[in-house]
């Protein structure tokens, strides 16, 4: 596959001060979740874990263990077959209308 640079040699991007990593809110509709586990398995930053609270269907839906690690890649939103999870950018000033585009 080729050489991979060790992390300690990575250069810091020149515009790193301007780039703001978005802050995310992860919404989980617990009773829609059927427990397939795709979001937990494939989140690139391992933000999600199985919770310990049963939902109406008798399965354990996911919960976000560290919402701060989420980079809003949107993979969980896209991979969920049941529309039970989505992540949106946390609105700092407007404190309602989460999820509306």
């Amino acid at each position: 596959m080729g050489l991979v640079m060790p992390k300690k040699l990575w250069r810091k991007p020149l515009d790193s001060k301007e780039i703001k990593v978005p802050e995310a809110t992860i919404s989980i509709a617990k009773d829609l979740c059927k427990g397939c586990g795709f979001c937990i398995e494939f989140c690139p930053r391992k933000v999600l874990e199985e919770s310990d609270q049963l939902n109406k269907r008798g399965i354990y839906p996911p919960k976000a263990v560290d919402e701060g690690k989420c980079t809003l890649c949107g993979f969980c939103t896209a991979i969920c077959p049941d529309f039970a999870i989505f992540c949106v950018e946390k609105k700092s000033k407007d404190d309602d209308n989460d999820g509306e585009k």
């Binding site: 829609l32 059927k34 397939c36 795709f38 896209a78 049941d82 529309f83 989460d98 999820g99 509306e100």
Partner: protein
């Protein structure tokens, strides 16, 4: 009618008939992912939803037409493409999408598929291929791999399966792609591309069927199957579709065909104009 807010502000809520959710599909079923990707594509394209028509056939994926909040029709087994042809030609302004399964499209519907592809009718066909007839409990179909256990092949399947992308390309489709249910972004992009191309397009979506096919053939949980997809799928755009056979160790994915060819509707319009011009000429004499 749409008082339900079961989806709780999900960004795609407006694309779904909320009073019919949650859908009937099992946990880990690829159909839900296909629906999600399809809606994602519609959302990103900002298409006029009043002009989208979704036609589905019989099968688990056939229920998809009932869940999308657009004009939709759930036809008899195998006839979705024929129905869609009628819709598109009667009103060329509509964007007609056929969402159906491997059995519906290629066993009973095989004839309609090859002819619509041959004619290059401007419809977009998205096939959820889970290698089985899921709705009726897991019988074999035209895409079931050799030696699979199904309820009607209890000694292992002795039939060679179709290579769907090869069939589509050979029949005349102008856009042919295959993705697994894991590759959601690429699938969404393919759907977007097909919606913007004029002509017959075919997208095969390799889907897990955790309750039936995957369980009968001991492929593990839904997550195991998705991990398998990740492991054995290889993205090769422009790969020769006739060689893109699905095996236990390899699933070639990508865009296999992307050409331009006048669609049936376009040729029909041109012919109609020619006929009418000639008539006008004769009538004015």
């Amino acid at each position: 009618m749409k008082k339900s807010n079961i989806l709780q502000n999900h960004p795609f809520a407006k694309y779904l008939r909320q009073d019919r959710m949650p859908h009937i599909w099992c946990e880990g079923c690829g159909n839900g992912i296909l629906l999600n990707s399809f809606i994602n594509a519609l959302d990103e394209l900002s298409i006029d939803l009043d002009k989208v028509v979704v036609v589905s056939g019989i099968g688990c994926i056939g229920r998809a037409a009932g869940y999308v909040n657009v004009d939709s029709f759930h036809t008899t087994h195998g006839r979705a493409i024929a129905f869609a042809t009628g819709v598109k030609l009667a009103n060329p302004e509509l964007k007609v999408v056929v969402i159906s399964g491997d059995g519906d499209l290629f066993a009973i519907g095989g004839n309609h598929f090859i002819h619509a592809a041959r004619r290059n009718v401007d419809i977009k066909v998205i096939c959820a291929n889970n290698f089985t007839y899921g709705m009726t409990g897991g019988q074999y179909g035209p895409t079931t791999p050799l030696e699979s256990w199904t309820t009607t092949t209890p000694y292992g399947s002795i039939e060679h399966p179709f290579n769907l992308v090869h069939l589509a390309a050979a029949s005349g489709a102008i856009y042919v792609a295959r993705w697994t249910a894991l590759q959601v972004r690429r699938l969404k992009n393919s759907i977007k591309k097909s919606l913007q191309k004029e002509g017959f397009s075919f997208i095969e979506v390799i889907s897990p069927c955790p309750t039936i096919y995957d369980r009968y053939n001991k492929l593990g949980t839904a997550t195991d199957v998705m991990r398998l997809f990740k492991q054995i799928s290889q993205v090769q755009h422009g790969y020769d579709p006739s060689k893109a056979v699905i095996t236990k160790n390899q699933i070639m994915v990508g865009e296999f065909m992307d050409i331009e060819k006048p669609s049936y509707g376009r040729l029909l319009r041109e012919m109609t104009i020619r006929v009418q011009e000639k008539l006008k000429g004769e009538e004015s004499k």
